[in-house]
Homo-oligomer: 415 residues x 2
């Protein structure tokens, strides 16, 4: 089964926004067993949309269009779809009702142009948009399925996951293809490749391994195709076990869409324990990650973001002499930050960070990227020094991820 993706919008062509929708759809369609044979970005102009629709590859089975459906530019895309697929424009009553309720719940005034977003060609099947106002539309022509989705990423994903996915699984006989993705912290891609070169060589042809690196986290995706589900699952279980043996459970922290903050949340709830953070170089990023999880208030008390030395002394009880003698980025200071916040915020666990995120503040002794992280609990205090890189944003992200995994290792008693 072959697919094409078309994104509509001048803002992509002029480089004002980076098209992340195509990557999402490319990954999802590949995972389902489609071969994505082309991505295109085109202007939101009638002729450009019609031209693209007229020039889909003959062997393409599925075309997904995104974008061009906001309240201010609805007309062009939908009129183009009407021209190409035929029919007449009608107001979809369910979609109109949904828009009224949605805007009411958001306390936003309803304009005529909002309701007009519920107008669709009657040649389409409406795909409900649970998190926005522009509905998705599905058309059939020349034995192909065409789908138009809004360009706002979370709306596009919502419709894809909840409305389109079941249709695709019903409509297409997709080859059986299974994936498992292991999540690793603290393993650079080149090191993993070195460690896995022999293991990769002995993989059967039906199985392959992809390296998906991002800042601080490496995902290893194993894919396998075949026709017996039990057999494929067995093979994936075996491969997963082997990778776990190679890297160990300190480095492999989860699978699939797990996040460190969710795993930590579950472990804290299970233990009935509470958490606080004292952050210097990460500046609130760890707290932000922890509180992004619904229900975090059950275990997260709060944080001291101690950017200045005064706050480290007054709010965390760090010894002034240690700051003077060893500097803020030191073992003694980060450990006092962790024990200090744990005592003052009365929690069972605490994370502390102190580092030089850059671009300024580095020295030959402590270059930009130098970071101390500590984890304090009732009976342990562990700390470690890291040397990340020379890029502020990446240093902050890596420090936050490393700290969360250090806490996970403590919570799982993996030490």
């Amino acid at each position: 089964m072959k697919a094409e993706i078309i994104t509509i919008g001048d803002e992509i062509l002029i480089g004002q926004i980076i098209d992340t929708n195509s990557a999402y759809l490319g990954a999802e369609l590949t995972r389902l067993g489609f071969e994505v044979q082309r991505l295109q970005s085109i202007p939101d102009r009638h002729e450009a949309i019609i031209f693209a629709l007229n020039n889909i590859f003959k062997d393409t089975d599925l075309v997904i269009l995104t974008g061009g459906l906001g309240p201010t530019r609805d007309d062009i895309t939908k009129q183009s779809l009407l021209t190409f697929f035929g029919g007449k424009m009608i107001l979809d009553p369910t979609a109109a009702d949904h828009i009224r309720k949605l805007l009411k719940s958001r306390h936003v005034r309803l304009y005529e142009r909002n309701i007009r977003q519920a107008e669709v060609p009657d040649s389409c099947q409406v795909l409900a948009n649970h998190s926005g106002s522009a509905p998705g539309m599905m058309f059939r022509k020349h034995d192909k399925i065409f789908v138009s989705l809004p360009g706002v990423p979370f709306e596009m994903k919502d419709i894809f996951e909840h409305e389109l996915l079941p249709v695709l699984q019903r409509e297409f006989i997709l080859p059986l293809r299974k994936h498992r993705t292991l999540l690793l912290e603290g393993v650079p891609e080149s090191l993993a490749a070195e460690k896995l070169s022999q293991w990769e060589e002995q993989l059967p042809d039906s199985m392959n391994l992809a390296y998906l690196p991002s800042v601080g986290i490496l995902r290893l995706r194993i894919s396998i195709s075949g026709d017996n589900e039990d057999y494929l699952n067995e093979k994936l279980n075996k491969a997963t076990k082997e990778l776990n043996q190679l890297f160990g459970s300190q480095r492999i922290f989860g699978e699939g869409t797990d996040t460190l903050q969710e795993i930590i949340g579950r472990l804290l709830v299970k233990e009935g324990a509470s958490l606080s953070t004292a952050e210097s170089c990460t500046g609130g990023t760890i707290a932000q990650m922890i509180t992004s999880v619904p229900g975090a208030s059950e275990y997260f008390a709060g944080s001291v973001i101690a950017y200045s030395n005064e706050i480290k002394i007054k709010q965390l009880g760090v010894a002034e002499a240690d700051l003077k003698n060893y500097g803020a980025v030191s073992k003694g200071v980060v450990e006092q930050m962790a024990t200090g916040v744990r005592a003052r915020y009365q929690t069972d666990y605490a994370i502390a960070t102190s580092g030089i995120a850059g671009p300024g503040g580095g020295s030959s002794e402590k270059p930009v990227g130098t970071t101390w992280i500590a984890i304090s609990s009732k009976d342990t205090l562990v700390s470690a020094k890291f040397l990340f890189g020379d890029h502020r944003e990446r240093n902050i992200t890596r420090a936050s991820i490393t700290a969360l995994n250090m806490l996970r290792i403590q919570l799982m008693r993996l030490r």
Copy 2:
């Protein structure tokens, strides 16, 4: 003058990497006055490359291809270029010499496949790659210019800036096209469209307006073409002034690539003032945004992330009775949080947030999305209540952006 961009590589089609090269080239070509009329991503297969080259729009003047030139997959792309443009493969002595020197300077062993990167069709003009091994290539056919660049972003940019740009400026008579983007906080797209409908109608044909919404921020981009730079600037200035009058400087916070956290940073530095935050529902997101700016330590002291009521009482001095009588999400509590952190962290300004991010915790009186924000300074205390939506992540983002803009309004004395 019209342009197309083609990126070659399976890793883009399967969503393994996000194509940022196209956004860079799209922005650069637009800035130069090209109209980018299509982006495409295609697999690194001979037939796919030949098909794409054979199907360039008739009116396209410039085609830029990126990718497919690494040492492990050089052959397909270059053989395809040879097939399409004719000629024979030769070793470019300058490029070969450069590769030898480059690898020597990096203490990397030279393999046969490295030197073969200097092989190019003799139908091309070589564009030197100062920061990598694969050279760029420029071809002419059917009155169009075709350029092939490596896919590694910094190498692609290096060749574009230093080698290709002068050629483009010499070869093409480019129309003058200018853009200005205004950044608005707190204005939904539909409201802006309503407010601007008359204004848009009177715009000359040479000028157009695009709405680019994201969570909490709406960007309005005005574009204009012509041949007199002063005239275009004058028109853009006039339009900017009109939009400023329509929306006001409380809502329009910046232009282009400005961010609220950078603007606030500059204003605080100018005033020699310091800042702290007391965050409940935003859970550290405001601190994280503020500290993402290099040099934030100059004005940012730190934060109390007060997720639990105990922390609000003990670390910020919020009255227990108020928490009991009015709840954490109330005017009195958020104001005490702001004054509390300002006093304890001894800063000139403080931001406080308290809200129900969701999905749990809402009631009919205080639904999910209800958020109180306060700004405290030496002589003022302002607070306001907002009703965002029903999506946790977006509520947190909107609360953070709203809070930063409320602080900006105070810092600029716009009240």
